[in-house]
Symmetry: C2
Subunit: 314 residues, 2 copies
């Protein structure tokens, strides 16, 4: 069983100013840190996720095999388990992806005494955190795998995230879920009724189970803080706004893996960033599941596993 | 100057049941009906439009030249000028595209004494009405041009329209405008900052002027009736749910013209329908403006003009 824990950070100075007092960073680990402390992988999670959301990616025989790797899954701030509006008495401040990475850096360095990460990987908002790690602490990140995510939020992506926040603010998690169902998949999925392959009985069943029930588990106030972090994601602030200079700092062997039919993070936008990362390749995951190609069916999972296997073998 | 008029229809039996009493159908005509009554073109308008929205497409030297053609632009029901929630004292019923076409058929036949239309064309919701015309009255429609629209709303399109209605219902026209800005354009437009070509100073300026100011002119209650019509669009109901049979009835020489980067009406979805129309061709309008390729810049307008010229020359 994975180990669950909470790291008590104390007060965290925030990137946007001010302090988040008494920060709790929930995290989950899988496997054992090797005596040489050289088998650690950091796996931050996506929007509306928790460390437990990543469990399906870690297991015997998988790319992330806990017999081989020590996989650390930190919980985003505002995920409802780490310090969040929903579990904090005081008014909750606005955050940035950099705050997550600052907290995670203390977890890795102080609590776990890890000096170098064999891999940092993430999907979507997890990719934002992974990019931030690789730019900010290049000497600590040996490999980087970013799936369906960007180092700097584009204007097109920002409009979608803002509209998603609008839906959440005015219509709660149900309206927000319907927004995501409308924008997060692909026309190809519906044209071919490929959702049947994943066990859904109808479009209504898909919307209910994949979106409404999933988002319904979270507090809108927590999700809104996450969305605001997402909008602000921008590694270029480490280089005075120069994205090329910021991404040029990455020394990790990097795979940028957009999803072929993802309207939120189009391949061309991901490629623009990949071409700025020195030791990198672009590897498109083919899927009609749009932004939801992350673990829906065996075909997508096999492609993602293969990317991770190849990267970890280098 | 185009002539504005209102056709008093009396009571209209509605497709979904019930009656809309004392119906007023606003319309605008350009040019003069020829003695042989063979130069009439019907041009229904898009969502959140009026007959005046189509003025830029009609003029001397254009494909739709009023010196040659008698162009009739009927106002959708619920457009704020024709009978609409905003100008009706009684509770307003739910409508279908078929109700618009039934009202337009009376305008064309009874009021204007036109037996055959040289062309029916439309963009988006205008295309829905044009398809409905060609399926329902095949003997009256010589040519059909449908831009960025479908004869039957797909599940993918329906999710977008439903989410658009959610935004309007909970956040008014501003939130609805932001939803459309997020979903109606393309990532390519933003990546290249191609909005500068159309005279916008920034993304914020684009969102304000192209979306917020435009939608802000309309009453949410009117727009909601239009969106509900959009969702129900389905010519297959004329053939017991058989789309192929319904589209197979079209005898018009037809051009189906999707917009290359339109996430609302992807080319592949439009092609599925085009292939079911006997005498038809697919002609993709290349544009990074997504669903907004309709008249934004000269490059798109030239492509659309060319399609209309070629079709009218047959």
């Amino acid at each position: 069983m994975p180990a669950d824990a909470v790291f008590e950070l104390g007060d965290l100075e925030l990137e946007l100013g001010g302090t988040l007092p008494g920060v709790q960073l929930a995290y989950r680990t899988h496997g054992t840190l090797a005596p040489g402390r050289d088998n650690a992988i950091l796996f931050p999670h996506m929007y509306s996720g928790t460390p437990a959301s990543l469990d399906p990616w870690i297991g015997a025989g998988r790319a992330l095999d806990p017999a081989r790797w020590f996989v650390v899954c930190p919980g985003q701030l505002a995920n409802g388990i780490s310090s969040s509006p929903s579990n904090t008495a005081h008014p909750f401040p606005e955050l940035a992806i950099g705050d997550d990475v600052a907290a995670q850096h203390r977890l890795v360095s102080e609590r776990l005494s890890i000096e170098r990460l064999a891999l940092v990987l993430g999907f979507s908002m997890g990719a934002q955190q992974a990019y931030e790690w690789a730019v900010r602490f290049p000497g600590m990140v040996s490999r980087l795998a970013v799936f369906a995510g960007l180092a700097r939020t584009t204007p097109a992506n920002d409009l979608l995230v803002a509209a998603s926040a609008d839906a959440l603010r005015t219509g709660g998690t149900t309206q927000h879920a319907r927004f995501w169902a409308a924008t997060g998949l692909s026309a190809e999925l519906f044209r071919a009724e490929a959702w049947r392959d994943a066990g859904f009985a109808s479009v209504a069943d898909l919307v209910t189970r994949l979106f409404e029930e999933d988002y319904g588990r979270f507090e809108p106030a927590d999700l809104l803080v996450q969305l605001a972090k997402w909008r602000r994601a921008d590694v270029s602030r480490h280089a005075g706004g120069d994205l090329a200079a910021a991404l040029g700092r990455i020394s990790a062997r990097t795979v940028v893996a957009p999803f072929s039919h993802d309207g939120w993070f189009p391949t061309a936008d991901c490629r623009v960033e990949q071409e700025l990362v020195p030791d990198s390749t672009l590897n498109v995951v083919e899927s009609v599941w749009g932004h939801y190609a992350w673990g829906i069916t065996a075909a997508e999972t096999a492609q993602i596993e293969q990317i991770l296997r190849e990267l970890l073998a280098t």
